[in-house]
Symmetry: C2
Subunit: 173 residues, 2 copies
């Protein structure tokens, strides 16, 4: 994403009478960054298509998976997992309750919080979505060796670390 050349969507100029560009504002790095963004974007699209077939949004599905993993988790917990605000999570939980996929249960010991639990209907659906996800992953990694995957993983981990706050511009210690 970022900016980059959007797979070089070609658009011929109509009237170059505008302010003429003095110096390129598009660099080689932009292209690389675009590429880094491209794979996740395609994955998102495919997952959206999968979840939509079940009447779910990707966010709803992710919420279900997290609740599945940690039954009784709090909305604030879920917000951290989904990287959403608490208010947004509240809406998502509303939706899941309305669809009878999850429910809020009063937590004993803390009357502020709700414990989130899945309902049977969710347990039916999740494995099917799991299967769809596996198919997408299989396609993603088709004809790519474990060695290559390890290499990419290592590099991405390094890049992610580079962007961590604290690794400002100075070499990491």
């Amino acid at each position: 994403m970022m900016l980059a050349v959007q797979s070089m969507t070609m658009v011929e100029p109509r009237d170059t009478s505008g302010i003429s560009p003095a110096k390129s504002l598009l660099t080689a790095s932009d292209e690389f960054v675009f590429l880094i963004e491209e794979v996740p974007r395609k994955l998102r699209r495919m997952f959206d298509a999968s979840t939509a077939r079940f009447g779910l949004t990707r966010t709803q599905w992710r919420a279900l998976v997290y609740i599945y993993r940690t039954p009784g988790m709090t909305q604030t917990d879920l917000a951290k997992c989904l990287e959403l605000e608490r208010a947004s999570v509240g809406h998502v939980v509303d939706q899941l309750e309305r669809m009878a996929l999850a429910e809020r249960r009063a937590a004993k010991g803390d009357r502020r919080v709700w414990e989130l639990h899945l309902l049977p209907r969710a347990i039916e659906i999740l494995p099917q979505l799991r299967a769809e996800a596996d198919m997408i992953y299989a396609r993603l990694l088709h004809m790519i060796s474990p060695t290559e995957i390890r290499a990419v993983r290592a590099l991405l981990t390094k890049m992610s670390g580079n962007l961590e706050s604290g690794s400002e511009d100075r070499p990491p210690r």
Copy 2:
């Protein structure tokens, strides 16, 4: 993103009285996919912070860069570049006009379309944002060799190709 383990945000279960998970719905692939998503997400955040300092959203900034690259481009053109709907682009252009960063000019020869052009104020701002972007990229690629970058690029390109429609599940011809 996808689902994955969100950097393993740990959340201890409160009350495991829920439906007990029979089989894992989180796979090793999920972790890899999460990692693929992590770098772009961090980049997005940093860019958002940069553009916000200039009173711009990332979308507005991207729009400016594309208009810079192709003065006179159409809103439909821009929508393709930004991967947005035409309606959304209309809003963005409204904003840019209000901020006196860009303008619509009637296109001669086709009275349906607007030609998009930057205004001087945008030309002042863009190089500064370019500099911020370069700093972020430098940080991203810190201590990573050109060879490694080429390797990641190749693999990501391959993965992207794997997800291309037409490469369904069958090996590419």
